[in-house]
Each structure stands twice: as structure tokens, then as C-alpha cells.
Amino acid sequence: MSGWVQLKGVGLHYGAVAALRGIDLRIAAGERVAIIGANGCGKSTLLRVLHGLLRPSTGSVLRDEAMRQAMVFQRPFALRVSALANVALAVWLRGVPWRIAKAKALQALARVGLGAVALRNARTLSGGQLQRMALARAWCLGPQVMLLDEPTASLDPHAKREVETLMADFAAAGTTLVFASHNLGQVKRLATRVVYMEAGRVLADLPVHAFFNGPLGETSREAELFVKGEFG
């Protein structure tokens, strides 16, 4: 296998429901992959499989285990402690002593512009701040691959821009980005490659320019309609 991860014929079932069907996908280090598609198409499930949180029912996942990876969720979870402690905990869980973990966490929070609220209870942070805290938590693990599940969903435009800027910075630093998004503008700005999903299948997997400037051909008809929906 070359690259970070390779999926071969991956399928995943929740009871009788097929969440993923026959997914073949290879992601190389340094890529910025956007996974798009309608609600329920399998984007989040695919991200969880890529991160190793879900085991596929069929097929295989070959992952370069040497590459450090971290995931940011759509609604980040925060313990009822300070933002600093929340971030430090993630570092501590990797075996780093608490004192060093706290120093790293403080640095990470400053990096995402939350240094001033580091000691505030994380549950009192705004949605945008919480998402940035989650990015800091992921970033301070030193990931080579970052998976993000609709990281700017339900954020206001200002918070959206802040999170996007951080994602762009991480990508510029060489971090592989794989993110799910409904925001096609964001996909154009951040991604180098687009994976379009429908009903658990990958219907299109193209460089971002080719995806948005089509034609996508008969097999990707749904993807074309999806894109047109944005502009129509």
C-alpha cells in the first residue's frame, strides 16, 4: 500500500441498513479530501471507518499505523472542566506527563486564539470557540492526518471563517485533511480532491477542479445535480 489509507470493497451495516457499500478509496499523505453528499449518505460513517472507530462489515482497511491521526467531530464533546484541562487530557492520554501536557495544551489553545479563555469552563464556550478548542485538542496531538466531520456546521459566518482559516493553516503545514462538508464554497477553498457519496456509495472521486467544472459523465449524474443545486 502507498499513501495513508486504502479501503477495498468496504461495506458497513447498521442492522439491516447499509451505511457504506463497496467503497474503494485510497488517500495519500498530504492530500486534502472533501467528502460531500446529502444527509445520511454515509460521510460521517466513512470518516469513522477511516479513523478506525468503526470496523467495516465487509472489505478491508489498510492504514499506515505509523501516521498519527486525530478527528474533530461535528459537535465536539467537552468535559465539565476548563478548556485547558480538556485539551491537556488528550495529550495526557497519549502518555505525556500532565505538567507537559498542560504546557502543550496552552500552546495549542493560544494557536487557535483561545489563550484568553483557557481557564474558562469548556461548557461555557460558544459554538465557534468549542470547535476551535476541538481543533486545538486535535492539533496538539501532532497529527499527520486530521479527519473533520462537518467542522463548521451550525457555526455563524465569523466562526466558520476562523475554523476554515485554521484548517487551511494545518493543511499548509503538511497535514493530510479529510473532511465532510455541505459547504461547497468551503470545499473549493480547502480541498484538492472531492469524494461525492450517495446512499453509502462513492459516485465520484475527482480533483476539485474537475469535479466543479465537469462534465462528470453519466455515472456521476447525481453529483452534477448536487453541485447545480448549490448554484441553482
Binding site: R48, H51, L53, A70, M71, F73, P76, F77, L79, R80, L89, A90, L93, R94, R120, N121, R123, T124, R137
Partner: protein
Amino acid sequence: MNTFQESLAQAAHLVAGADPMLLSIVGRSLAVSSTSCIIGTVLGLALGAWLGVAQFAGRGALVTVLNTFLAVPSVVVGLVVYLLLSRSGPLGFLGWLFSFQAMVLAQVLLVLPVCTALTRQVVQDAEAANGEQLRSLGASGMLRSLLLAFDERFALLTVLLACFGRAISEVGAVMIVGGNIDGYTRVMTTAIALETSKGDLPLALALGVILLSVVLALNAAIALLARWRGAHAEGIVLAGAPA
């Protein structure tokens, strides 16, 4: 003045005068229930938190059995402990029957299922909502259970309160295994039962008032703690947490 008013007046007099017998019964009650609560809740919190995240064959059956134990009458627990501690029972060699230890053991057995079942539910809900994210950070099952229990600490405070309420207000088990011996194993509930049957309503009423006051004080302490946390750090999220 009717009997109730007279009894209430005499009860107030006993409480205000810090009647020695009253104080000794109250002190013993608090000692028995506090000790059993500490033991029962430490075990129950640990077991419940573990059950909240653990996945193993037979877990569903275990949870069902555990929930069933919530409804076990205290007299049945008293009977079982009596049989265990009686001279011919498996724990008879301890010589605990009709002692402080026997009452503590009975109350631990009453508190344990309540604490375990409620903690399990709280942690399981937290695990369903947030366990995946903790897993993605690398938290193992045991660590996740501890973190989630810690995060739900205000909900669990209410569980502890419920456990103490169960312990201090029960009468059947401590009556059977303690024997209601004056100056030795007589606690508030057994004293209330005895004094009522003897017709000494003022003492029974005084004990009842104190019993209610203890539980009221605990409730108030929990509410104040939650409000303090709300004002200092947690904001609106925690204000409703212990509800």
C-alpha cells in the same frame, strides 16, 4: 389542644432541649447510614460506571437483575443478612448479629443496587453521547467510565442523596439485624416504630422531624452546591444538571 399539637409541642421541647436519648439515637442513625452509604456508594459508583461502558456477554441479563434489586423490600434484605449472620449462617463466626456492623451490612446491601443501577444509567447515557469522542482520543474502557462518571458528578450527587435517603429512612432491615436494642442498635426509624407502638408520640414525632430535617439539609446542600457551581463556572449547563 389535640394529641398531634401536644405531641408536636413536646417534640419541639425535646429537640430544643437537646434530649440526650434523642441525640444518641440520632447520632447512631447518622453513623450507621453514613458508614453504609460510604461503603455502598464507593462500590456502587465503581461498579455502575464500569457497567455503563463495559460490553460483555450476559450484560443485559445482569442489568435486568440489578434493576430488579432496586425493588427488593428492606425486610427481605434484613432477613437475608439475618440468616447470613445468625450463629449457624455462613457469616455467623463474625458475631455481628444485633450489632452496628450488622446494620451497616444490611444498609450497604440496600444502597448498593440503587447506586449501581442509577450510576450505570447515567454513565451509559453519557457513553452513548460522548464515548466515541473519548475513544478517538485514546481513552480505554475503564478510563472512559471514570471520566464520564466525573463529568456527570452533579447527576451522581443526586444518586448519592437518593442512596442516603434509602439508608436512613428504612426500618425493616435494621430492625431485624439490629434488634432495636436501647443504647446499642436503636436508630431513628426503629425508635419511631417502637415509641409509636408504646404511645410515646412526642419522641416518635421529634425523631420524625429530625429525620426529615436531615434529608432536607442534604437536599439544600446539594442545591446550594449546584447553584455555587453555576455561578462560578458552569453557567446554564450545570444549573439543571442535578435535577
